[in-house]
């Protein structure tokens, strides 16, 4: 029968943990950035927009290296974090989550932004005349109507985080039991002769997880859409 080896189980658990955390920590920022890009006009907006999209266009290794420089124990931010709070993210599963979050961020922002742009701002005007302030309007009208975009953004980001490899291995390396997510573990196996069987098993596992995630997200997306439009 099909049973999982401890290594495979560990890789799955790590991958899910890292991806879920990556999505969870980036979602509030993703919504905020998407709203700013959809609704605000300010000098330097296109530069800001480009900056958000950097992880999409530069090689992941570059992002991983940048993270190492910034967040490493001797890095600009990482050094301060370590000195002030004793926190270090480099070479830990938290670091893998940060790398995955950064890589997935543009996809999440893009989906949510499109959804916010599709909202009829006249509904928000109507809400204002009914006595709702701008923050109230955001939470009672804008956010619920962005629901399907948020679901899509979360799915895309989760899928991207599951597959994240380049930035991860550069930033947090391949530490067994700590940062060996599915792709990292698979890469490790592929380096060793005679491990083709184990490698294939990981490949199949990756595909199964991806399909399961897509299926679950489709169900959720459909439910959200139905709640909004009532169809």
């Amino acid at each position: 029968m099909f049973s999982l080896s401890p290594l495979e189980l560990e890789a799955i658990q790590l991958s899910l943990k890292v991806s879920l955390w990556a999505v969870a920590i980036s979602l509030p920022f993703g919504i905020a950035v998407a709203w700013v890009l959809a609704r605000c006009e300010f000098p330097g907006k296109s530069l800001f927009d480009a900056l958000i999209h950097v992880p999409l266009v530069v090689p992941p290794v570059v992002i991983g290296y940048l993270l190492l420089v910034l967040l490493g124990r001797k890095g600009a931010i990482g050094g301060w974090l370590y000195d002030s709070f004793g926190i270090t993210v480099a070479f830990s599963w938290q670091g893998a989550a940060v790398a995955a979050a950064v890589m997935a961020f543009p996809l999440m922002v893009r989906a949510i932004r499109l959804s916010i742009e599709a909202i009829d701002t006249r509904l928000e005007q109507a809400a204002r005349t009914l006595g709702a302030g701008p923050i109230d309007v955001f939470f009672s009208i804008t956010l619920p109507l962005t629901g399907s975009g948020i679901v899509v953004g979360v799915i895309l980001a989760f899928a991207r985080a599951l597959g994240e490899f380049g930035a991860t291995i550069t930033f947090v390396s391949a530490i067994p039991g700590e940062t060996t997510t599915l792709p990292v573990a698979l890469y490790g196996l592929a380096q060793v002769p005679g491990q083709e069987g184990s490698a294939i098993r990981l490949v199949i596992l990756s595909i199964v997880i991806a399909f399961a995630a897509m299926f679950v997200s489709e169900v959720i997306a459909r439910r959200v859409r139905r709640r909004i439009s009532g169809t």
């Binding site: 009829d120 006249r122 509904l123 005007q125 109507a126 809400a127 204002r128 005349t129 009914l130 006595g131 709702a132 302030g133 109230d136 009672s140 009208i141 619920p144 109507l145 629901g147 709640r227 909004i228 439009s229 009532g230 169809t231």
Partner: protein, 365 residues
Amino acid sequence: MTISVNIRKTLGALTIDAWFECGGGVTALFGKSGAGKTSIVQILAGLMTPDNGRIAIDGTPVYDSATGLNVAPERRHVGYVFQDARLFPHMNVRRNLDYGARRNRDRAGSATGPGFDDVVDVLAIAPLLDRQPHLLSGGEKQRVALGRALLSAPRLLLMDEPLAALDAERKWEVLPFIDRIQRDFGTPIVYVSHSIEEILQIADTMVLIANGGVSAAGPVEEVLNRPDLLRAAGDGNAGSVIPVQVTGLDLAYGIATLSFAGGEFRVTAPDLAVGERLRIRVRARDVSLATERPQHVSVLNVFEGTVAGVSSAYGPQVDVSVDVGGTMIWSQITRKSLDDLSLQPGAKVFAMVKAVAIDRPAGPP
């Protein structure tokens, strides 16, 4: 209750420079599309900021460029019914209705608004409460939007052509409700429209808007009896509005007799009742003039009167007002006829009325 408005705003080619005051009841803003009516109500609601001026509701300023005051829309307590109902698609009817009500429940220093059940009852929307907005017809949506605005306990209700998106039949389905809102809840209404029929049904005061400015303001009958002004505001059906009472019915011919201060109209009106009071509208272009009593004509309504005035005319047509026993009947004739008949103020004329439109006062739905 008074609303005083004195605002200026430049919007591309249009410059809005509006100054008017209105009291309780229904005030109609009437004018061509593009005259600036919608911009004026958006400014009243706080959804658009004027360049300068002052707006006060019941003595309380909500905008004053002199002091830099600009109250946010959510704190103006001005309800707004949009042309497109703008119901929130992710909420059912009940939650839409509750949206404004919840946010204004404990407002200090203002009259308490109408209750939920009363509004649902008056607007007859009880069967719709659990439905989603996209399942409603246009008329139903607009009634829910009315209720939603009303339940936010507004000091003033703005309606921007709330019936424009509805077909003729649905219009008459919603109009009586607007009339009832005014009668049952007493909320002052500013009603934007380019339909004289709607205004006659529900408005007390009328403000004529042309090219961003106010060209006339006053009681509906008074403003409507100035065809020169109405024409400037873009109404080709300008004429006289005359209050009448049904005093007789000739069932054999299907003709009703309508009495007014200067005489009697005879009109084909099968479903009128004796004693009923109505407003009738006589379009200036349906009235011809003669200097002698016409003989052997098919026109039923011929009135003797004197020329009271002639509008200054630059085109081929002029508006002549004829005083018929104290009631003004306007006639649109060509400038050539005016000269051929040598009509001067004071001259005796006979006005032949070819058609009469009857505007029934809105009854309870």
